[in-house]
């Protein structure tokens, strides 16, 4: 039963990479759900769990491009371990600190994957996709963290409208 949430995350990722990625893209800027899920799991779960989840996420994302599979596994695995270490050693009580951590590692993931792909116009990719993509993904991470902290509830959403 402990594996069920992770299966749910994986199927959510599957849904995202096959269908939702195109739907939610804004001028080519996409949500990096794989990194977001790995970071969120690493923030709240143990290092071994986070590492294995990161590897499986890397496999799922990499199955679309087999040449990227080891890179995705390596980068996501490294990020999961780094996040876990940060969460153990740093005071991440405040939302801002967690958002900074989230944003930093999201940017790191997108940057490294862009470097691996080594496009000639890297600066353009950085400005047009990496940074906006990080901000776009961070928005979802922020909403999730707000929800997890109980600061974003259905009642509050209803009160807004």
């Amino acid at each position: 039963m402990r594996i069920l949430p992770y299966l749910f995350y994986l199927y959510l990722l599957g849904l995202h990479v096959t269908i939702l990625n195109d739907v939610t893209a804004i001028y080519g800027v996409t949500v990096d759900l794989a990194a977001l899920l790995v970071i969120l799991v690493a923030l709240h779960k143990g290092d071994l769990t986070a590492l294995w989840f990161a590897l499986v996420v890397g496999i799922v994302v990499g199955s679309l491009r087999l040449d990227l599979m080891p890179w995705e596994m390596l980068i996501l695995g490294a990020i999961s371990l780094a996040i876990h270490q940060c969460s153990r050693r740093m005071n991440l009580e405040s939302l801002t600190s967690r958002l900074l951590l989230l944003g930093g590692f999201l940017l790191l993931h997108k940057l490294t994957i862009s470097l691996v792909l080594s496009t000639s116009d890297f600066a353009l990719v950085l400005i047009r996709q990496v940074v906006p993509g990080t901000v776009y993904t961070l928005l979802f991470g922020w909403l999730f963290l707000l929800y997890r902290d109980g600061r974003l509830t259905w009642d509050k959403l209803k009160a807004l409208f």
Binding site: L15, T18, L51, I59, V60, S63
Partner: protein
């Protein structure tokens, strides 16, 4: 077994990290065997259902687009079909008219109706030719079924045709069989009738009434009407004859003006 589980329990983290590292190494090193295998398993388990769903949705979308395109095409085709059907009807009418011989010393000028003036029944028609096309007042107007009327007014590009259903338009006619003369008239109350026919004249239902040629407007022999019913009251000097015009004046479309060769 107890010994094994003890080792596994104590070294759980090491085994976990070691296996993860091994998996990473396998995926990295065996790019043609392990990597595709793991990729296929992952695709089959996680991505395949959503890929199928995406294919289904995109299929539905294609069907919707195709449906919309076909509907538009259907509308365009039905419009074309209507135009073709109309052209076919016109073609049929014109082909029928090809067999029509104008009366001697007359030639026909085809005209089209621009508008029809009606008051319960049609009274006059405006046609698309006028004095520029040698049309003058009192020229007979026909269609392939028979006499329609005569030209009453002429302008350079237009002309007004006084139809047989105008009560002020009377035509000298005769019974085609018995050659009896009479006057074809129209009244809103009685419809078309044959006036001035003597009580002893020979006329029967279904007889054809044609123009007599008297009066100088219409040439002789143009079909005007079919006798609908004949009533001869005792003591009356004239027969009452009701007619059905050979031309349905509600459906006139292409008309032909008869122009004398002398003009």
């Amino acid at each position: 077994m107890k010994w094994t589980s003890t080792i596994l329990g104590r070294n759980r983290r090491v085994i976990g990290f070691g296996t993860a590292l091994l998996l990473l190494l396998l995926v990295t090193l065996f790019s043609t065997t392990v990597r595709p295998f793991i990729g296929n398993v992952s695709s089959a388990l996680i991505l395949y259902p959503f890929a199928e769903l995406k294919g289904y949705i995109s299929g539905l979308q294609n069907v919707t687009d195709e449906n919309r395109r076909l509907k538009n095409s259907l509308v365009e085709t039905s419009l074309q079909l209507s135009a073709l059907a109309e052209a076919r009807r016109e073609n049929t009418r014109l082909r029928e008219f090809l067999g029509f011989d104008a009366p001697e010393h007359f030639r026909v000028v085809p005209v089209k109706i621009i508008s029809l003036y009606q008051q319960v029944y049609p009274l006059a028609a405006i046609i698309n030719k006028g004095s520029n096309d040698s049309l003058v007042v009192d020229q007979p107007v026909i269609n392939r079924f028979g006499l329609v009327g005569r030209i009453k007014e002429v302008m350079p590009g237009f002309a007004t045709v006084q139809l047989l259903t105008d009560p002020t338009n009377a035509v000298s006619g005769r019974v085609a069989e018995s050659r009896q003369f009479g006057i074809v008239r129209f009244s809103p109350q009685r419809g078309m009738y044959f006036d001035n026919l003597p009580a002893d004249a020979e006329i029967n239902d279904g007889d054809l009434i044609i123009s007599s040629g008297l009066g100088g407007v219409y040439p002789a022999g143009l079909s005007i009407a079919i006798v609908d019913s004949v009533f001869a009251a005792k003591g009356e000097i004239l027969k009452q004859v009701w007619l059905n015009p050979t031309v349905n004046l509600y459906e006139i479309e292409e008309l032909y003006v008869l122009i004398s060769d002398t003009l």
